[in-house]
């Protein structure tokens, strides 16, 4: 059962549809085979089905890049906008229509480079939006340029002798922003973990930043090769308030019991570079949500006209 609540019409429509996976699918994804984006799309569609989100009440907003084709492949409303600028559009949607389920999908260049200002400030506004950053450490669509998350030394068309400076740490950066309320990391080679992470993000009331580590089969084919081959390079952050995938804990025996409420420890874990850490670094459900902070009671046209006439009285000559 889906509750089609429309606060603007003041009515709620009962709906007895049951929507299957196929109801959330649209065009066949045109990403390269082996691209991590496919796994994320599947995890998201699984979430939509499990949560039975009405497609017409769900909005996917994206920027520009391979990952930003995402909305075209989901049967929902979508807005495929400008490079780096998914978040302002998503914020506008959420502010205007808080009852909609809003997802923002970005790439690493999109979010951490050209859209860095929006990333920082939207984190601070803390709207109830799930932001998914598909991070393959390279600009793929424009054919192999260095991104802010390219590992130092990675050769690209713009830095053919290898990336000159250290990669950005998007998890630590987000944690450092005032009002950061949900910060998590997962990887494209662990689909169940992607699903659980996005599910936790969806249920978090506030801005959920999920970084997905993935490779680009064209340009960063080896980026997480070692992580996939050697479970010892991975450490799972586990906690009842975070993400737990029991089956995965059999494979990845390095686990750390990390309470996502502990920001100081979250920082420490985000800064360590000995292992790749997957899980929820930080979560705080009590931080005020922007669209609620800014909510104002709606007025009828008659009320507005009455107040407007009072306002005009103050200008009367």
């Amino acid at each position: 059962m889906i509750q089609l609540g429309c606060s603007l019409l003041g009515s709620s429509v009962e709906d007895d549809r049951y929507l299957g996976m196929e109801d959330y699918q649209k065009a066949v994804a045109r990403w390269c085979s082996g691209c991590g984006d496919h796994a994320v799309l599947t995890a998201v569609q699984r979430l939509l089905e499990v949560e039975q989100l009405a497609p017409e009440e769900t909005v996917f907003v994206s920027g520009i890049g391979c990952s930003s084709r995402f909305p075209h492949y989901v049967n929902s409303y979508g807005f495929h906008g400008l490079h780096g600028r998914a978040l302002p559009v998503a914020l506008g949607v959420k502010m205007r229509r808080p009852e909609l389920h809003v997802f923002a999908v970005m790439g690493d260049g999109d979010c951490c480079s050209i859209g860095a200002g929006h990333w920082v400030h939207t984190t601070r506004y803390n709207p109830n939006i799930v932001a998914i950053m598909l991070d393959n450490g390279v600009y793929g669509l424009t054919k192999n340029q260095t991104s802010p998350t390219s590992p130092k030394g990675l050769r690209s068309n713009t830095q053919p002798r290898g990336a000159y400076i250290d990669a950005m740490n998007p998890i630590a950066t987000t944690l450092g922003v005032e009002n950061a309320s949900f910060v998590a990391q997962t990887g494209d080679w662990v689909p169940d973990h992607i699903y659980e992470t996005i599910r936790a993000a969806y249920h978090h009331p506030g801005f959920s930043f999920v970084r997905i580590l993935q490779r680009c089969p064209q340009y960063t084919d080896n980026l997480f090769l070692e992580a996939m081959r050697n479970p010892d390079t991975i450490e799972l952050l586990i906690h009842p308030d975070g993400v737990q995938v029991k089956d995965l804990e059999k494979l990845y025996t390095n686990t750390v019991y990390h309470d996502p409420a502990d920001l100081v420890n979250a920082f420490r874990l985000a800064q360590l570079d000995d292992k790749i850490r997957l899980g929820v670094f930080y979560r705080n459900d009590d931080i005020p949500v922007y669209e609620q902070v800014r909510a104002v009671p709606a007025k009828t046209v008659d009320e507005k006209i009455a107040i407007l006439n009072e306002e005009l009285d103050t200008y009367a000559v």
Partner: protein
Amino acid sequence: MTTSQAQAPSKHEKAADASAGEKRIIRVKEHTVEVVSDSGEGAQKCGQIFGRVSARMGNGVWTVEIIPAEIQPPPRTPPSASGNRIRIGTKAVTNWGDGAHLVAAFNEQVLLHRHRMNSLEKGCIILIESMWKTHDDEDIRAEWAAAMDELAAGEYRFVEVPMEEQCLTVVDNPRKGKNMFVLGMLANIYSRDLEIIKELIRHEFRKKKAEVAESNIALLELGHRWADEHLDFKVEVPIEAPGVPMVVMNGNQAVAIGAVAAGLELCAMYPITPATSASHYLSEIFESYGGIVHQAEDEIAAAGVAVGASFAGKTAFTITSGPGMALKTEFIGLAVMTETPLVLVDVQRGGPSTGLPTKIEQGDLLSSIFGQPGDAPKVVMAPATMEECFLCMTTARRIAEAFRCVVMVLTDANLATGVQPFPRPNVTREWMAAPLDLSALPEGHKPYDWDPKTGLSRRHIPGQRNGMFTATGLSHDEASKIGYTPDVHERGCEMRARKMAVLQQTLSPPTPYGDEQGDLLVVGWGSTQGAIEEAVDRARDEGLSVSSLHLRFLSPMEPGLKEIFGGYSKVMTVEVNYSDDPNAPYVTEENRRRGQLAWLLRAQTLVDVDCWTRVPGEPLRPGQILQAIRDFMPNGADA
């Protein structure tokens, strides 16, 4: 000029005792007053209240702020001049006029600034703070003397007023009181109703302790009494009550309150002069109407939030000025491509780049129309008065929604800060935005179901069943499916452009001011209308065959222009933007940079439209335009 110049020229005088009975009455149809002080001494407040009371008493009024570039520039320097010009008239006043006829100056340096700007009429009466003349500091006395030498050229009539000395009898800090003392003097000179002024003062200080208003009122009364006892003249600008209820406000207030009347509910903005005062005002009042002002992290995000909000709901708007417009360009193109309704207000200032932040210019016309890559057809409108600033917000929203397009409203610093009374609008239900229609769409309905003739289509809004689609800035077909083939891209471009042609067909041809045939037609747009028409009136009084035409729509342009132009031997534009002097070195017919409207009109009509433009950072004066008309008459001014 309609003003009589009864006062004796260039005479320094200590104000003598004068009783009301002996006063000379200067009776005029209009008078222009300036109040100038160091920044922070409150001349602006004084001028604003003087303008307000004049409007309330039924005079025509137009005010212009005199704004220094810095918040607190060094005192007693010409760049520190801050204040207001108030032009009052028996009938409606439509522009700031030529020179001032009476000035109240808090020191001789700020007066010098106005003199150097050619802002004072010959023989202007100057009420000047006298303390500097006899100041303990020798340097100040020397500065006074030097200034007086320079000012002598103006043949002004000086009245030295011991402002500070007088104010100290009532308050401890005269810096916070002279403005009200001067207001009292002006109230006496122009016979303004003191009760109305007291009410305005109490309103102004309503958020402070009652003593604040009362001490300001005491200063007002002191100034009034002082002028009554010491000045030997009064100015009378007869009042013809307009007969309909009027309101008085500046253009930014009119835009903000007009946005409310238009049913707009979300304004996303980033601070930028001279647009911010509209956002300040809106921030104050919008929530009581259920509206939100979102201050975004930058200009780009402000446009993005507005686009997102419009995509998901009622039309949103953003307000900015030139540099902000430059940053919003990318999102404007996206809104055009996705056919998302959007209203943008550009309060133009001097450009390019940071340019003249507080000053007027009409330099954003071409960048508004052509500022995006590719063909990005959108609507550009320009209100000419405070009243139109109010009304155009409703028009803009309605066009944005009906045509699924971007509507840009170009105002400018002259409209933004100038104050003018206009008939009180009758706010109606029809102006307000209708609630969102979220009923289900017919199955298979396409998000760009373009009518092949008009390019119009029905918008899909999140929440509507069967309407799911992904809006995209990429080339797309009716279903919003990305397509790079020639037919898809050409058809999309054609459909977005067609809407502009359809809109143009709904507009009425503009009406010339003056005869429909003649030697010269002056074409303008935006805030220059009043000054142009006043210049045309004066030129016609001189016997010149000249008319003017004012455009409100710049993209698409109102119909019938070519035909109208055909009635005149010569057509020229008058604009506040840069154009080359045709006689300047290296400038030829082929390479001459022209006024922005002239450029457009030439392209659109193939008429050889000439232009006279200036970028002084201040509104054009009717006297300057009159001279331009004389110079541009096809057969010379004697024809």
